[in-house]
């Protein structure tokens, strides 16, 4: 089971680097949103500094969503998923591996890139560490939920729009506690520690729900 997990990790990371699509697209999109924001809102340094954490979170969320609906597509289309389903390895483990790959190729690099792009938005340097911690944690939940959304729509031609509609309500809590634990907005009390813990709790819930629900959805498409 561990060897199956590692095999998927190795294969999909190789593919991600060789095809060039995944990581590059996500970071490019992230950069686009961050560059367009000041151009749309005006160059006011104070305003940018105030909205920077929220803006970076929105950019992260959109970039993760961009790659979400393709998470299972290739394996479904080329028959690999069917072969994976016919093995000792439970589909739940496969789902967990696929979500891990998605995190390694989207959430993690974006969380690392976020502080750099934060300089473009005049991000307070004191927020760099909290932002990265929150993003690394929160993006785990984003990838797990992306795997679920993609599994629910895997057999559909027009899955993209549906993925967004299905995932959006699931991303609301991650967004809220992600921004709060970055402590970007001037709130009366400092909740960043508590918010980070709640964010971690949301990750744990997603860790339990996502593999089972993804596997169940995939099974119903294979039938």
């Amino acid at each position: 089971m561990t060897s199956a997990f590692m095999s998927i990790l190795k294969r999909d990371l190789t593919l991600a680097f060789r095809q060039g699509g995944g990581i590059g697209t996500a970071i490019g999109f992230f950069l686009t949103v961050v560059v367009l924001l000041p151009l749309g809102l005006g160059p006011d340094q104070n305003l940018l500094s105030r909205i920077a954490p929220g803006a970076l979170w929105i950019a992260l969320l959109l970039s993760v969503l961009l790659s979400a609906d393709k998470l299972w597509q290739a394996d479904y289309d080329d028959g690999s998923l069917e072969v994976m389903a016919l093995s000792d390895t439970p589909l739940e483990v496969t789902a967990l591996a696929k979500a891990s790959v998605h995190w390694l190729t989207s959430g993690l690099p974006l969380a690392i890139a976020a502080p750099l792009l934060g300089f473009l938005l005049n991000l307070d340097t004191a927020l760099v560490l909290p932002l990265m911690t929150a993003m690394v944690t929160g993006s785990l939940a984003l990838s797990l939920l992306a795997s679920l959304g993609a599994a629910i729509t895997v057999g559909l031609r027009q899955g993209g729009l549906l993925v967004s509609l299905l995932i959006l309500p699931l991303y609301v809590p991650v967004m809220i506690f992600g921004v709060l634990s970055t402590s970007g907005f001037q709130t009366s009390i400092d909740n960043s520690g508590t918010s980070l813990l709640i964010l971690a709790a949301i990750v744990l819930v997603a860790l339990v729900v996502s593999p089972f629900a993804s596997a169940a959805a995939l099974r119903s498409y294979l039938r």
Binding site: A4, S7, L86, R223
Partner: protein
């Protein structure tokens, strides 16, 4: 070892593909599925593999597993080859070896004459070579039940011979082999399930 089905019915895309179908496949004898397009050969293979559920009837599998679960004992080679175009031949096999729990890549390469191609990315292979790579999974990890859906499509005569000897070795070990094919492969002891006969 035996797989048998009784009174099977299959529904696909809001249509009854077949009803009242019965069959039996025993170890050491190949069961060939014959019939026109749309008769339900692929559907039956999917039912046996357990990736689809019969609308009626029952399947039974005795022999290999005490758990009665058929999925981990099956090699199902469908129309899609389950290969990644951006991986090399060797990397593709290495992935399946790792995922399916071991298996000698060298044996698999030799069994379908892929050794010369092993460092090519799969996107550079011809359709027939891709098919061989898909079939190489059979030689990778030993499994007692092979379900092959049109395995000879795209294969030249020499490759058909390689496949036939692979199948023969599988049958001689007393294993189960069910295949849908239009070509008579030189495999000993064959039973035929004719779909034209059972459905109309």
């Amino acid at each position: 070892m035996e797989i048998s089905g009784k009174g099977l019915a299959c529904e696909r895309g809001g249509r009854l593909v077949f009803t009242g179908l019965g069959f039996s496949a025993t170890g050491g004898r190949m069961l060939v599925l014959r019939g026109p397009n749309g008769a339900g050969k692929t559907s039956l293979l999917r039912l046996i593999a357990g990736v689809a559920e019969p609308a009626a009837g029952a399947l039974s599998f005795t022999g290999a597993g005490e758990d009665g679960e058929i999925a981990p004992h099956v090699h199902f080679v469908a129309h899609q080859d389950a290969i990644k175009l951006h991986l090399t031949v060797e990397e593709n096999l290495a992935f399946w070896a790792g995922f399916l729990g071991g298996g000698d890549i060298g044996t698999a390469l030799d069994a379908l004459n892929l050794r010369a191609l092993r460092s090519f990315q799969a996107q550079r292979l011809s359709a027939g070579q891709k098919r061989r790579l898909g079939l190489a999974r059979l030689a990778l990890a030993p499994r007692p039940v092979w379900l092959l859906d049109e395995p000879t499509v795209g294969l030249d005569t020499h490759s058909q011979g390689l496949l036939a000897s692979l199948m023969t070795a599988h049958l001689e070990a007393g294993n189960i082999l069910i295949a849908s094919t239009h070509i008579d492969l030189p495999v000993p002891s064959t039973d035929v399930l004719d779909f034209a006969g059972v459905t109309s």
